[in-house]
């Protein structure tokens, strides 16, 4: 087994008095898709938001334990640097409404003031949009506003925007929950293709989606990591009774 790109060790997270994550230990394997599933409110979104330190935006958020990104302590880094290495796609597509499609893709460079030549930017835009399987649909309308696209296209634009920064990991926080079934299957296919170039962490409350797309699955319940393993194994011979009950629809 390859050495993990991200190592989570004895990780706890709380908002004020309210403990959300308890003693999570998890290894994320490079170029694989790790699904984090669990019922609503179990802490799965909090876990991924801790990975790129977005949870720090909430006042009174505290964490303990370790997260190592390629053996570097994520929590010793400047959060701004950490977030450039770990891309994120949110539940609802959120392209920048003031920017056109082209600028949306390179927003990470533009907003951070990273200067690239026009040719390099063009290349980043094309490569990112191709990876996000959006290039053919938008190559003639690159200078139109991103908000004119359909929901599924907007979400792929957001994926392209995250990919453009060439992150180590990209976090997908229920990326299909606001999309229709067709757009959802499109994004799922895309996720599987993307594994070649990037490590993916997918949060989902959709069991079938985790089964369809992921290599590893973590099941989180009430802030605890109940079970973690290869998807095939977890879905066929779960070790924990709670996993089995969740998969068979007894709760969640």
């Amino acid at each position: 087994m390859e050495s993990p790109v991200l190592k989570i060790e004895n990780f706890h997270a709380a908002f004020g008095e309210h403990v959300v994550l308890k003693n999570i230990s998890l290894d994320i394997t490079p170029n694989k898709l790790t699904a984090i599933m669990g019922p609503s409110g179990c802490g799965k979104t909090t876990l991924v938001r801790c990975i790129n330190r977005m949870h720090e935006l909430v006042p009174h958020a505290t964490v303990s334990g370790k997260m190592l990104l390629q053996n570097e302590d994520l929590y010793a880094m400047n959060p701004i640097i950490a977030r450039r290495k770990i891309g994120m796609v949110f539940q609802r597509p959120n392209p920048f409404p003031t920017m056109n499609i082209y600028d949306n893709v390179i927003a990470g460079y533009k907003l951070n003031g990273l200067r690239l030549s026009k040719a390099d930017l063009d290349a980043v835009v094309e490569v990112s949009l191709r990876k996000a399987a959006l290039w053919d649909e938008v190559k003639d309308v690159l200078y139109r506003k991103g908000t004119f696209l359909s929901g599924g296209q907007q979400q792929r634009l957001c994926i392209a925007r995250a990919l453009a920064m060439k992150p180590e990991i990209i976090l997908l926080d229920e990326p299909t929950s606001a999309l229709d079934p067709k757009a959802t299957s499109h994004i799922e296919e895309l996720m599987i293709e993307l594994k070649e170039t990037v490590t993916i962490v997918l949060v989902t409350h959709n069991i079938a989606q985790a089964a369809r797309t992921s290599d590893y699955t973590a099941f989180i319940y009430l802030g605890e990591l109940v079970e973690f393993g290869p998807t095939q194994k977890l879905f066929t011979v779960p070790e924990d009774k709670r996993t089995e009950e969740y998969l068979t629809g007894k709760f969640g």
Partner: protein, 282 residues
């Protein structure tokens, strides 16, 4: 009996409808009358000379209001320079910090400031700036007007930015964009139409103010472009000349009223168009 009752009700309904339609029309009448009078009396005065020349001495016909136009422009610029950065900054703070002692205090103070009579703001500017400098000045008038603009800009900026979805801020922060750049390059541009509209509305609002200028900008029958000297403004000129006993000055006052009314109307129209055109779709 029952039939009569229903007929009476239907009639009452109709009467009520007519009444509210009539009242709605009535509310337009004041503006129409104002515009009608201003146009009727002002139109004949206005020509190129009126806009580009100084007022003539008493007894001479003709002359213009160029000093008041330049003065109004100076006052608006000074007030804008003072209040726009301050107002937008405070508005950003309020939208980012919905709770907290400072937000509460700022919100309260801004609300009270909005209710302070304009003449009182004039007195404050007199005490703060005119007395120490020992002269009436465009600067003091501009600051008085700036204080009046401030609440409009602060509140509108806050309200506009509050409507911008949180997800946009997250999108930017998740790309590793620092907080201040997220605010300045993502959040503020998304709310630009609202902020720009607020600025224009507030300019339209203070351009017609007379009271705070009475003992700050003071008025000046000559051309002046020095911000440390008194200047004339359109409403001040109307105030001074309309109260004079000379028909030539009355004519100038009507003309100045028309210029002022057109200016304010234009600003309002621009604000309306801008809100529609620049509207950002999320």
């Amino acid at each position: 009996m029952a039939q009569n009752h229903i007929t009476a009700r239907i009639l009452k309904d109709k009467a009520f409808k007519l009444l509210v339609i009539g009242l709605a029309f009535a509310s337009i009448i004041p503006l129409l009358l104002i515009l009608f009078y201003i146009f009727k009396n002002g139109c004949t005065v206005i020509n190129w000379e009126f806009l580009t020349h100084l007022p003539r001495p008493v007894g001479e016909a003709g002359g213009g209001i160029s000093n008041a136009i330049v003065g109004t422009f100076m006052l608006v610029v000074i007030s804008g320079v003072c209040s726009i950065p301050l107002g937008i900054g405070a508005g950003i703070y309020l939208s980012e910090h919905k709770h907290g002692a400072l937000s509460y205090t700022v919100r309260l103070c801004v609300e009270i400031l909005q209710g302070v009579p304009s003449i009182v703001i004039g007195i404050i500017a007199y005490v703060w700036i005119v007395m120490p400098l020992r002269t009436f000045s465009a600067l003091s008038g501009g600051i008085a007007l700036g204080i009046m603009m401030l609440p409009i800009i602060v509140r509108s900026t806050e309200e506009t930015l509050k409507l911008i979805p949180e997800s946009l801020k997250e999108a930017s922060l998740a790309l590793g964009v620092p907080y201040y750049k997220t605010i300045m390059k993502v959040i503020v541009p998304a709310g630009l139409s609202g902020i720009a509209t607020a600025i224009i509305i507030s300019i339209a609002r203070v351009a017609g103010e007379t009271a705070p200028l009475l003992f700050t900008a003071f008025g000046n029958p000559f051309m002046n472009t020095n911000i440390f000297k008194p200047v004339n403004s359109l409403p001040l000129l109307v105030f001074n000349y309309a109260a004079s006993p000379y028909p030539e000055w009355h004519a100038l006052a009507w003309g100045a009223s028309l210029v002022l009314a057109v200016l304010v109307l234009t600003l309002n129209v621009i604000a309306r168009v801008m809100t529609k055109k620049w509207k950002v779709q999320f």
